[in-house]
């Protein structure tokens, strides 16, 4: 690791800076004339250009703004030879052996530096720099330098990576703990494992070099790889040097100015706390102001029918029932509108709609994801119910965040005498940080790089979702646009280190907690045993009938096949696909073929058996749903022993740089106030308290991003477009708010009103801005083509959930049972994935479907249901033909249209004379929550007439087709 850089004079890890000058305890040597490249003879070379006279002024002029002593972008200081030799955060040497190897020249030659928005280097300057590097990068100054230094920070990352699993917090094989110099010298049952000054005699070196450690059998079991020779060399050199320890401590925010982030960068609008504008005190005030400046005004208020449907879909994701619709339409109450808003906010369907948005942000999934397998996450749904409940209860947003980020650090449940519902909720909430794609349960994918990916997903959910910052870039290098140095990514990573520690990893089996209230446990004991027995019984009869069915299929379709072969076929199914003999394969294939024959070619017996099977499946589901839920919680909790965190150069897991401590992005602070962390239970369970500190910092009412990002999300879901267009990027490259004062006013109101989300809904929904019609005049199009000024309401398409739920609702097929086990999905013969009805035969709201990443229900998929990689901060809204094909041709959609038609026919004088006009009226009321206009009425009646004649006089079929047509219309698919 170090060998390749032997030409460098100082070998300290890049980014390491002594906290105290006295710690430069390495031998300081004065060299009369030090040149850039050791080994190149630089004495007596009088004509060579010198750094100080030729290059330093250029660097000071053109690079100094970002790469000087006080401002050190990319952790690089070009103001002195020492800084140049030290290099930047990537750890690559800047000068190299020749100009071709010089990273410094490379970025200059490529035009990468100085960046586009800075003054460029002139050709002359470039020539001078090139000449200087080519001539050997000389300097006229004696340089105080250190000979090679090495300390614990060179070796600890290696030991963490290669040895920690067996000689760390969880296991101390042979009594050995390799986490500190002291513990190495203490050693284990065979005495010390490290003898300072004598690598040859040190047991740890002997064990590593003889491949005794890590032992072969542990490599796959514990997911470690053997250290390469370069790492062993480093260990040796450190021990031989006497195992020196520096007092360099992890880099955290101190009260001294931060050289990596400037105050100027802190001036970006979204990094400054929201500023209260006193110009207006309502949404409409701000909106009207900008409309008037553009010579525009509000559009007229939408008609009552439109408002009813708009608010229903918006708040609960369902249209009103015919009765509800009539109630609001006919209400004489002057406050009918705000009453309707309040009533819907109080509905439990509200949480199902708005909780779903949050689940997108969290990346909620009922499966672990990953590229090969996609195993089910059993208890993930409890987090889903937590979220829905939190929205229904209007849990203050600050509290909501604190629970999700650090619920485990709020109450010491381990030492609690009584487990309360609140403790359970707190722990369930931390599921938020466990929603990303996690392959580390696989037998081959649990190495440190895969674990780092899980951590990076969690960081990305937190930074993108809660702060509107893209931090992923800084995992490998300082952010190209935003002032987020790589160090800050790793400071944030250190915050999660207590719970998501790549060197101290919880496997799938150990990441649930069994914590429940006494009442819950009593329920489980009381209710479940007989039900479990029932499920067992049902499963066993399901198995038996399956065999009978298979035998019947074989007998039906292959009457010549022997009974022994039939039995062998069924037996072969128990052998895994790829282990079957050729004969078994042939037999199984014959069975599969028989199974795939259409129903018309199956015997009554087969159809009957299939019927019984699906009945049993329903009974199983039904019985399961009667059980009390399990007491396990899929949680994230601090283990109280975070490993040290090192910057990873280039994001590579085996290229550690400087140690960093927990902290938040410096650009969001004043750059001088230390980030304070306290262990939450000093006398109880050890916890680092890091995430709690993060959560408290994030929910400070003055936080520049938290409230802005959330009110912008709320705004986005109401209007289909945010005040800041990129919900996930409030950074330098993100779009500016269209109404900055309004955004800040709302952000401040949000915190002032106790972080109540429902209060924000009221503010928005009761505004004139929201109640505008979506009609457009050509003039408005001209002046406000993108509707950035909100000179009208935006037209919005139903999202996948509200479309499916509305279809079911209109067809009278929606089961509104809330919560609990997710509804499973299945894949049919055409590869269509659909959601299965629950045991009671109902189809529940889409938020309750099992979200399996590899099995997205086809209909949802077609309508832009997200894939969660790791989460989804704003969904795509596409308009593509597969949607039209699905609505036109899909059998299930047509079935729903038929059910809808039956409801219509039953409502309109069943058995009486057919009245097309009444049909049309009813269809419009039920599907579109409005009355048809006179033209629509006559168009509808005419269509029904034509359809009836096409259907040879069958008026009911005409009605079915008519209903199907209405469900295909933009009026149904969109909200005006």
């Amino acid at each position: 690791m170090m060998g390749s850089r032997s030409n460098l004079i100082c070998q300290r890890p890049v980014g390491l800076r002594p906290t105290d000058d006295a710690v430069w305890r390495c031998v300081v040597v004065l060299i009369a004339l030090v040149c850039g490249h050791a080994g190149v003879n630089c004495f007596g070379n009088d004509t060579a250009p010198l750094f100080e006279t030729v290059v330093q002024p250029i660097f000071a002029d053109k690079c100094g703004k970002c790469h000087g002593e006080t401002v050190r972008k990319g952790d690089l200081d070009l103001s002195s030879m020492a800084g140049i030799r030290q290099g930047g955060e990537s750890g690559d040497p800047l000068l190299g052996e020749s100009i071709d190897e010089s990273r410094l020249w490379e970025v200059i030659a490529d035009g990468e530096m100085p960046p586009d928005d800075q003054q460029p280097l002139t050709d002359g300057e470039r020539q001078l720099i090139s000449d200087w590097i080519s001539a050997g990068a000389h300097s006229n100054r004696s340089v105080e330098s250190t000979v090679e230094s090495i300390d614990q920070h060179d070796v600890l990352p290696i030991l963490l990576l290669r040895c920690n699993t067996c000689h760390g917090p969880r296991i101390r094989q042979g009594g050995v703990d390799l986490r500190s110099r002291e513990s190495m010298m203490t050693g284990g049952k065979n005495g010390p494992v490290m003898i300072p000054g004598d690598a040859d005699a040190s047991l740890m070196i002997k064990r590593i070099e003889s491949n005794a450690c890590p032992p072969s059998e542990s490599l796959l079991k514990f997911f470690v790889r053997r250290p390469p020779t370069s790492e062993v060399e480093t260990l040796r050199r450190w021990i031989d040097a006497g195992a020196p320890e520096s007092t360099i401590v992890a880099d955290v925010q101190t009260d001294r100015p931060d050289p990596l982030v400037t105050d100027q960068e802190r001036q970006h609008w979204s990094f400054q706390p929201p500023k209260k504008s006193h110009r207006f005190d309502s949404i409409d005030g701000f909106i009207a102001d900008s409309l008037h400046s553009a010579g525009l005004d509000f559009e007229v208020e939408a008609d009552r029918d439109t408002l009813i449907r708009r608010v229903y879909i918006d708040l609960i994701g369902l249209p009103p029932s015919q009765r509800e619709y009539a109630h609001w339409r006919d209400s004489k109450d002057p406050e009918w509108y705000s009453s309707m808003v309040d009533q819907l906010l109080a509905s439990n369907h509200y949480g199902e709609r708005w909780g779903r948005y949050w689940l997108d942000l969290a990346g909620y999934a009922d499966s672990e994801g990953g590229i090969s397998a996609d195993p089910i996450r059993d208890d993930a749904w409890k987090y889903r119910d937590y979220v829905i409940d939190a929205f229904n209860k209007d849990k203050p947003y600050d509290r909501f965040l604190i629970e999700q980020l650090a619920g485990d650090e709020l109450i010491d449940h381990v030492n609690a005498k009584v487990i309360t519902q609140q403790m359970v909720e707190n722990l369930t909430a931390t599921g938020f940080l466990r929603m990303g794609i996690d392959e580390t349960g696989s037998r081959t994918m649990n190495f440190v790089p895969e674990r780092l990916k899980v951590i990076s997903d969690a960081i990305s959910v937190v930074s993108g979702g809660l702060m509107g910052l893209t931090m992923e870039c800084a995992r490998c290098h300082s952010h190209k646009y935003d002032p987020i140095p790589q160090r800050d990514y790793y400071r944030l990573k250190a915050i999660f280190q207590g719970a998501l520690d790549e060197h101290d990893w919880d496997s799938f089996k150990t990441r649930t907690l069994n914590v429940a209230t006494a009442e819950h446990r009593r329920q489980v004991e009381l209710v479940n045993p007989p039900l479990q027995a029932e499920v067992k019984r049902l499963e066993s009869s399901h198995k038996k009938i399956t065999v009978t069915l298979q035998m019947q299929l074989l007998r039906d379709h292959y009457p010549d096949q022997s009974e022994d072969d039939n039995k062998a076929t069924v037996a072969a199914l128990k052998t895994a696909d790829n282990n079957r003999t050729l004969k078994q394969k042939v037999l199984v294939e014959r069975l599969v073929k028989a199974e795939l024959r259409p129903d018309t070619e199956q015997s009554q017996k087969v159809l009957g058996l299939r019927q019984s099977l699906s009945e049993i499946e329903r009974s199983i589901d039904h019985t399961r749903r009667k059980m009390a839920p399990s007491t396990s919680i899929r949680a994230l909790w601090d283990l109280g022993r975070p490993s040290p965190t090192y910057i990873l150069r280039g994001g590579e897991h085996d290229k550690p740089g400087a140690p960093v401590g927990p902290g938040v992005p410096s650009v969001l602070t004043d750059g001088k106030t230390p980030f304070e962390i306290r262990a939450p239970f000093p006398d109880g369970t050890p916890k680092s308290g890091r995430r709690l500190a993060l959560a408290r910092w994030l929910t400070d009412p003055n936080h520049p991003l938290t409230s802005r990002v959330m009110v912008n999300r709320i705004w986005f879901h109401h209007f289909g477009s945010g005040l800041v267009k990129d919900l996930e990027n409030f950074g330098v490259k993100g779009s500016r708010p269209t109404h900055p004062e309004l955004l800040d006013w709302m952000a401040i109101e949000f915190a002032r009103q106790g972080w109540s989300v429902k209060q924000m809904h009221r503010q928005i929904l009761n505004s004139r801005t929201y109640r505008q019609s979506s009609h457009v005049t050509p003039e408005k199009f001209q002046l406000d083509p993108q509707n950035q000024l909100l000179s009208r309401m935006n037209l919005r398409r139903l999202d996948a959930e509200s479309l499916r739920d509305s279809l079911l609702f209109v067809a009278g097929k929606l089961d509104t049972t809330p919560g609990g086990l997710p509804d499973t999905v299945s894949i049919d013969q055409d590869g269509m994935v659909s959601i299965n009805p629950t045991g009671d035969g109902g189809l529940r709201r889409s938020v309750y479907q099992q979200f399996r990443r590899t099995e997205i229900p086809s209909m949802m998929d077609t309508f832009d249901y997200p894939q969660m990689g790791p989460n989804c901060l704003s969904r795509n809204v596409s308009t593509v033909s597969p949607q039209a094909l699905m609505m036109m041709n899909n059998g299930r959609v047509h079935d729903l249209a038929v059910a809808f038609a039956d409801r219509v026919a039953n409502k309109v004088d069943p058995g009486g004379e057919v009245q097309y006009a009444d049909w049309v009226d009813t269809v419009y009321e039920m599907a579109l929550s409005r009355s048809p206009s006179p033209q629509e009425l006559s168009l509808g009646v005419e269509s029904l007439r034509q359809l009836e004649s096409s259907w040879h006089g069958n008026s009911h079929q005409a009605l079915q087709t008519y209903c199907h047509t209405i469900l295909n219309s933009a009026s149904f698919l969109f909200v005006d």
């Binding site: 590229i371 090969s372 893209t470 870039c473 190209k480 646009y481 394969k585 990129d726 996930e728 990027n729 950074g731 490259k733 993100g734 979506s774 009609h775 457009v776 050509p778 199009f781 083509p785 993108q786 037209l795 398409r797 055409d830 590869g831 269509m832 590899t854 997205i856 832009d864 894939q867 990689g869 795509n876 596409s878 308009t879 593509v880 033909s881 597969p882 949607q883 039209a884 094909l885 699905m886 036109m888 041709n889 899909n890 059998g891 047509h894 033209q935 629509e936 168009l939 269509s943 034509q946 359809l947 096409s950 259907w951 087709t961 199907h964 047509t965 219309s969 933009a970 009026s971 969109f974």
Partner: protein
Amino acid sequence: MISRRNMLQTASCGFGYLSLQALLQQQALATTTSPSPNIGGADLSTIHPTAKRVIFLCMSGGPAQMDTFDYKPQTGSKKHPGSVFPFKQRGESGMWISELMPETAKHADRLCVINSMYCDTGNHAQSFLQLHTGERLRKRPSMGSWISYGLGTENNDLPSFVSLNASKPSVYSSEFLPTKFAGTPIGTNGEDMSKATIRDISGEHLPADIKRRQLDFVQSMNRDHLAERPGDATLEGVIESMELAYRMQSFAPELMDLNNESEATLKRYRVGKKLSVGTCRPTDFGRQCLLARRFAEAGVRFIEVNHGGWDQHKDHRRDLQANCETVDAPIAALLEDLAARGLLDDTLLVWGGEFGRPGLVPDNGKDESGHNEKGFTFWLAGGGSKGGYVHGRTSETGDRAVEDKVHFRDLHATILHSLGLKHDQLTFQHGGRRHRLTGPEEARVVHELFS
């Protein structure tokens, strides 16, 4: 009134059936300043395209190159890994091709073989993703989506990107590119293709005349809806997408109906021949190739033809033979037909899988092979590629590419180049940065592959 151009410039997922190219051409007419960075700044005038469409013969599982196209005879006295099936020199070029591919070998002078492919990982899922999207750990738009985004469609009655016997959605997804550039899957991985079709392409519940009436009625409703919001691009999009869907349902089933193909053609393509041996699944690969030809004729931009089953760890010889037998004649028929119709001139065929396999040592009894990502083979044909040409070389034992190495990203850049697209300019702004198919690392167009 809002123009479609504005719409596409501003909405990340706006509708519109304009391709990037058409858009940029419009822009070039409209303004002399450089195009908006969020849709890439392709300067399309500088590359002369040699191909208009791509057929990607995707051999998933990792085909054994040393027993197909990369001839590795034994050298020296000690046996080493190499080809275990006999090879022959073919065509005027004298290209070495294994006896396992007798039909394809007849087209040796049309093939442009790259024996020096390499990639980053020997893990199937990751490498397969990288082959399709340029990225192995995260989901990204598929190559076909990038190309559709870059060039649009040639046929308004069909999707621009179809994936036959598609593997998982992540390899034909448009991800953050607008959804209309997503691949339309026809049949899923390993499934018998005889019945496979486009999802919901037909519905049985309505007779054709009623369907038309229904469409007319719903469109008249939609136009009324639009009348109150003149120029609303989303509603225009609804109307257009319904028309396309309607046209597709009239057009696609006919396109996919092979009844009017002659008996001889069906035979040449081995339609209906379904070998089920070991890892080789009975998917009716012949039908896929014939469908690919028909889609190419109809102007579909990117057609992926997938054949799984090349991951023959055990029973290497038997299963490899079955796989080769499955794909050999259909591919030859496809080459023959494309050439006969003049389509080979502007259709680029790409053959290969997510990596290759190490060779077996002849006569040592072992019949098991693993994965090799350090050196393997792809071949191109048509679309301006150099026929009868072999590019790059692996070591004596074929364990790694040693000369003129070509990475997946170089291959991607090369494919885009043949279509007239610059890989570093076909970009899309998403999540705070510009993405491209070839990823952040530098990719190289392999100019040597074109004559």
